[in-house]
Subunit: 336 residues, 2 copies
């Protein structure tokens, strides 16, 4: 079989013997997502199986819905590793830059020995950079490297890597989803990945409170800008009244975006301190919602951005609608 | 490469020359879903490419969100084919029994020449039955047969077959999702299937009415059987009051099932004629919801079943709760 990553694998295979002699810390980014935790677990277990001494470490706790990935391999809190950081050689995964792992871990590991990532903004910061921006997930790169190297991937590593591909392709729906994503997923299933368990843990363990919150959000949806924008609001006190918490807001904005004809979906959260928080999602990167967010001291990606502002909802709402309207008009005039 | 379906493919390859001499009608089931339409389009286009004279026919119109699959190949209404049915040799797809295509088409084609299906309840009804109950989708069987036979799959056929696998695996989340599902998806992408388009058309073109219907459904959710069952109800008149239609009920039952602790999710639809329709979804095939549905003249799969009954909601609801409770108890006593 042809190699999945000919160039990266040549370099990875050359580095591997050296890696296996070190005491390794696999570091992921703060506020970890499925690709981060899955890649950390996958890399750590595969290297451990190959004989290395490895730990995983993260500045933030593993979110509830990702804890099924860390049953057999712990992700240590930064406090446990920082005092003995000098004993470890660091490998970074899914971090577009060194700061993404949090300032304390970055301070301890200013120049990792290797880094594996797929973010387009990554310009490299390790001794050995393994970047492939056409991969849908960091877990996709790692899986390909492991298979190319003939390394053993056990069932728990396979499940972590599978979860990374699943989440970072948006369940195989994003534009980044490629033939290779599916080929690698098939190989992971052959090694013990369990798609039904991953789907269940990631998407079928909602609280009834989360569904009540969704209900409240749907009820608030309003079309703006002639139906091209849809905005939903989570008013003050909604978490208490629905029995949900802030973690449950994940994915709500996608409902606002999912409506036919809507180009930009927005979720506005009214904070108890009177401030507002907003998430913006575009169907097409041409809308550059990061630029809209930037006008309110926020930022992000072309299709997904956010902001936090010390403003009342009554002040903020019309200002946001005006800013989005201006951006839609600007894009339209550029296109014509 | 090994064959995907050694036994089925041997029989399919033997039948193929005969098929290509006939005037063929590819028939799917009434109220068609993604696997039905995707399989119809896939089979029709691949056989047409191989030289056959083929049409697709269905008793019901292609749902709006599946119309991206029928841009290049029409699915004819039954009325267009029935008057000349005797000219056609029928191939059935995704129909667990001959009646699933509707009584008029069944009357016209009482014994199809071939049938392709993955439903567990299918006992065969064609001259040549191609059944594989371990396949997640009929489109999975067809894709494997086409690849095994070395038949050309063009981009539109690939997209149809991909959509069939995507929808019938619940976006690669159901227990039926296998290594083979992913291998076949990879092969379809290599032939032009477009996962981002499929994801967008299937899941990001909701009407605002659909979201209002979801809101009403969420509001109706009730836990039963100590939290192991969640039931939502769509009362008479809800489509008019929310601006939705029956097509928009797709996927609602998954919300009932998605709650942590819930084993079986149910959606009950109260029909204008006083009858009820119910969809049952289990998290684990051990619950055999097809057996529960069978007690009400319904049927389906171990994890996904449905029924239609001339009963009032007030009669049906307690009977269903009792039947589900008995099934949960039976499974529990078997396990202990």
């Amino acid at each position: 079989m042809d190699a999945f990553f000919p160039e990266l694998s040549a370099r990875f295979n050359a580095l591997l013997p050296e890696l296996l002699t070190r005491k390794l810390a696999v570091v992921g980014h703060a506020r970890p997502d499925g690709d981060c935790i899955g890649s950390q677990i996958g890399l750590a277990r595969v290297l451990a199986k190959a004989g290395a001494d490895v730990v995983c470490v993260n500045a933030d706790p593993v979110p509830r819905r990702l804890q099924f990935l860390t049953r057999s391999t712990r992700v240590l809190p930064a406090e446990e590793v920082l005092p003995v950081a000098k004993d470890y050689t660091a490998l970074f995964v899914d971090c577009a830059d060194g700061a993404r792992c949090g300032h304390r871990l970055q301070g301890a590991f200013p120049r990792p020995m290797a880094m594996f990532d797929h973010h387009i903004s990554n310009v490299g910061y390790a001794e050995h950079d393994f970047i492939d921006v056409r991969s849908a997930a960091t877990a996709e790169i790692l899986t390909g490297l492991f298979l190319d190297a003939g390394l053993e991937i056990d069932a728990e590593a396979a499940q972590g890597l599978y979860a990374g591909i699943l989440t970072d392709t948006g369940q195989f729906r994003f534009h980044s989803t490629s033939r290779r994503s599916f080929m690698l997923a098939a190989e992971l299933l052959a090694r013990g990945a369990r798609p039904a368990e991953a789907g269940f843990e990631l998407y079928e363990r909602e609280s009834i409170g989360k569904l009540r919150l969704l209900e409240a959000f749907l009820q608030s949806l309003k079309l703006e800008a002639g139906g091209r924008v849809c905005i939903g609001i989570l008013p003050k006190g909604v978490f208490a009244s629905t029995g949900s918490d802030t973690e449950d807001t994940e994915g709500l904005v996608d409902y606002a975006r999912s409506i036919d004809g809507v180009e930009i979906g927005v979720m506005i959260e009214e904070r108890d301190n009177g401030a507002v928080k907003a998430s913006l999602r575009a169907k097409d990167p041409v809308y550059r919602v990061d630029r809209i967010a930037a006008q309110f001291n926020g930022g992000g990606h072309a299709c997904a951005a956010g902001l936090s502002l010390g403003q009342s909802l009554n002040e903020f709402y019309p200002a946001l609608v005006a800013a989005i309207g201006a951006q839609l008009a600007a894009v339209q005039s550029e296109a014509s």
